[in-house]
Assembly symmetry: C2
Homo-oligomer: 127 residues x 2
């Protein structure tokens, strides 16, 4: 799984890294049971600090994307990722609404917007 960070972006690199790992799981580039690189080697590979990677692994663990074992390192949750619950759904709505409101202001109608969402979905699934 290729990690590409944009150090000029306004999105903090820990968030970029987290998102890319999650997208790697979504595209099945990494699957339940697979191991992720150690915090030190990944940090070294992509040229960032080990604490930044450690923070990301901590967040992914908190969201149950991965399990962390004291010698094997970080493992994609072997039971698979837990289903979307109410907490996730309300967090999703909280982040989705502003994007949709902005799109509506800028003249995107429902059909166009839906088509764009479908496209994003297919892009990820097809990778």
């Amino acid at each position: 799984m290729l990690i590409e960070l944009d150090f000029e972006s306004d999105i903090p690199i820990y968030k970029q890294l987290k998102n890319q790992i999650i997208e790697g799981i979504a595209t099945k580039q990494v699957q339940p049971g697979d191991t992720l690189p150690s915090v030190r080697s990944l940090a070294s590979d992509i040229g960032i600090n080990l604490h930044t990677v450690n923070k990301v692994y901590g967040l992914l663990k908190q969201d149950e994307y991965i399990q962390i074992h004291r010698q094997k390192g970080a493992v994609i949750n072997p039971q698979g990722i837990p289903e979307a619950d109410d907490t996730f759904r309300s967090k999703l709505e909280q982040e989705m609404r502003p994007l949709i409101a902005e799109s509506m202001c800028r003249g995107l109608d429902k059909h166009t917007l839906m088509q764009m969402c479908r496209q994003y979905f297919d892009d990820i699934q097809g990778e």
Copy 2:
């Protein structure tokens, strides 16, 4: 237009405020030509600093949601909000993708996800 801020949220209040004004435009609670309260009165009403409101107005002006005149204050863009351009579209994709990837990891299939998006859209349009 009612503004409600959550000071405990992890979303900064300037972003909450910006989003709520944009949603107000999307729902047509405020329309092109309408004026927004002055930075001082709005700040005072919702109990925040005038610079925070000023920052939001500056961002909204930058995105061409509003125009700012030296005496009338902030006015919803009388020409309407500019159509979605490539810059907007790529920013939208950048923010949309991680949300969709997360949803896919958590077992939401395309149809379910599309239905949720449709729901969000209708919720906003119906307000």
